[in-house]
């Protein structure tokens, strides 16, 4: 099901206006401890069925990156916040 995202700068637009940037991963802020930690950070994903915090870019608009909270089970977007 398609859906509408509220760009924090431009307002509501169809999802086809945006580039999906994937789930927000908790960053440690430091270099990964070893190669396995690096690989985990690079490739592994929670891929939740439910509420997900994720990155989007308003490609066809202002170009800004922002975060959204979306339920991947229903595609309902709860909120978007400027990054």
């Amino acid at each position: 099901m398609s859906f509408v995202l509220h760009c924090p700068h431009c307002g509501p637009r169809e999802v086809t206006d945006f580039r999906f940037g994937g789930e927000v991963r908790a960053g440690t802020g430091s270099r990964p401890a070893d190669e396995r930690a690096l690989t985990r950070a690079l490739y592994l994903r929670a891929n939740v069925d439910g509420l997900q915090r994720e990155w989007w870019q308003h490609r066809a608009g202002c170009g800004a990156w922002f975060q959204a909270e979306r339920d991947t089970g229903t595609n309902r977007v709860l909120r978007t916040v400027a990054s």
Binding site: M1, S2, V15, G22, R45, N47, Q52, N75
Partner: protein, 406 residues
């Protein structure tokens, strides 16, 4: 057939009233992969103390939602060898199951609209031929003579320059594959349990020892996960995180038309693929939606974009009405290759990361996973697809041959 059989409800497999306390092998997921594993465990290794647990009905996931295309012209030697072995098993599967799977090997054409695409296809054809896979580059004139119903190739907005022709490619009826494998597994003694949702996987001392379900707890010697779009969620039940994101893939069919098209037409540049089913419907599909979701409902932008691109190839389809559209879930890996075999939890085997190419691989997945259960060793054919490859930095990039969902 005796007359009394006409009055009987005939079942393809037996209903099972309850789960046993233990099975040698528990297979999670009653799709083509899980059922093929059950079939080959019995057929090749005599292992029949097997239960297939399916949350909904058999074939309710990707098994019944794919666009039935089978082919082997992948780009990497690892991928091409693997899918070719699957194609060869499919060729003998109707006889093996004593069930008509309606396999039509009428050929598969991937159109090239640019120099770049021609170059990539020439490389693919050579890589395929080295492995003995029929695959060749043909020019626009040959495409036109093979598919006379396509729009004039030079008049298109993106003229067709040539195509990769894969003669053994074709379509096979996906429901029949599910039913045939299920019947074979059931006859051999495996238990099929639809309506059985796995809610937990018990891991003790780093080893999977059983599963919890909505119908009780069951112990197992080996657990196989074959849940396609839901791979991340089932693997997490055992504490295994996967490099997978789940996406929506859609397709639609037109009303039935007279027989016009007897090859599969794919255009990576136009993001569309088209075939005509045995019923006469034009089956049209495109790419996955870029965002992740578990909601299996289609989008209008897909129908619009896909129709526009299909009409560029077949303008006379403009009067055909859409009959139905549907959607399924795809579990995508970063390198467009699957994740197969052992993982960090002992006794847990994975068949995951199938993106848009799982149906093509069903027989060889069942075949190799059954061998791994029986021998305890990873078959050579699937070794490159181990989950561990992401840690060893040995990715198998099938981007060029698998990124368009056909």
């Amino acid at each position: 057939m005796p007359m009394r059989d006409l009055l009987r409800t005939r079942r393809m497999w037996r209903p099972r009233q309850k789960l046993k306390d233990h099975y040698d092998v528990i297979i999670v997921g009653g799709g083509t992969h899980g059922l093929a594993a059950a079939h080959y465990l019995a057929r090749n290794h005599g292992i029949t103390d097997v239960a297939v647990l399916e949350r909904r009905y058999l074939g309710s996931g990707a098994a019944g939602r794919n666009t039935t295309i089978v082919r082997a012209n992948y780009k990497t030697p690892e991928g091409a060898r693997f899918y070719d072995a699957s194609l060869k098993l499919y060729e003998g599967l109707s006889a093996e199951l004593d069930y008509n799977l309606m396999f039509s090997q009428h050929g598969h054409l991937t159109l090239a609209h640019s120099d770049r695409a021609l170059m990539v296809m020439r490389e693919r054809a050579e890589a395929n031929r080295l492995l003995g896979i029929e695959s060749e580059l043909i020019d626009a004139a040959e495409v036109a003579s093979m598919v006379p119903v396509m729009a004039p190739l030079h008049a298109m907005e993106h003229p067709v320059r040539g195509a990769l022709y894969h003669r053994p490619g074709g379509v096979i009826r996906h429901d029949a594959v599910v039913w045939g494998l299920a019947r074979s597994a059931d006859r051999a003694g495996a238990e099929l349990h639809p309506g059985t949702e796995v809610t937990g996987i018990d891991v003790r001392g780093g080893r999977a020892v059983g599963v919890r379900t909505n119908r009780g707890k069951v112990s197992a010697g080996t657990v196989i996960l074959a849940t396609a779009g839901w791979s991340s969620l089932t693997a997490q039940l055992a504490g295994v995180e996967l490099p997978i994101t789940t996406h929506l893939l859609q397709a639609f069919v037109t009303e039935p038309l007279k027989p016009l098209l007897d090859t599969i037409i794919v255009s990576g540049d136009l993001h569309v693929y088209v075939s005509q089913t045995d019923r006469g419907e034009f089956l049209i599909g495109s790419e996955i939606e870029p965002w992740t979701t578990y909601r299996m409902q289609g989008t209008l932008n897909f129908l619009q974009d896909c129709s526009r691109h299909a009409l560029e190839l077949f303008p006379w389809l403009e009067r055909a009405r859409m009959l139905r559209a549907w959607a399924g879930l795809c579990d995508l890996t970063p390198d467009y290759s699957p994740i197969l075999g052992a993982c960090e939890v002992d006794g847990l085997l994975l068949s995951a990361g199938w993106g848009t190419y799982g149906f093509k691989a069903a027989p060889i997945v069942g075949h190799t996973l059954a061998e791994q259960v029986a021998t305890g060793r990873t078959p050579e054919l699937i070794a490159p697809f181990a989950l561990e490859r992401f840690h060893r930095d040995e990715l198998v990039s099938e981007l060029a041959a698998a990124a368009v969902s056909h």
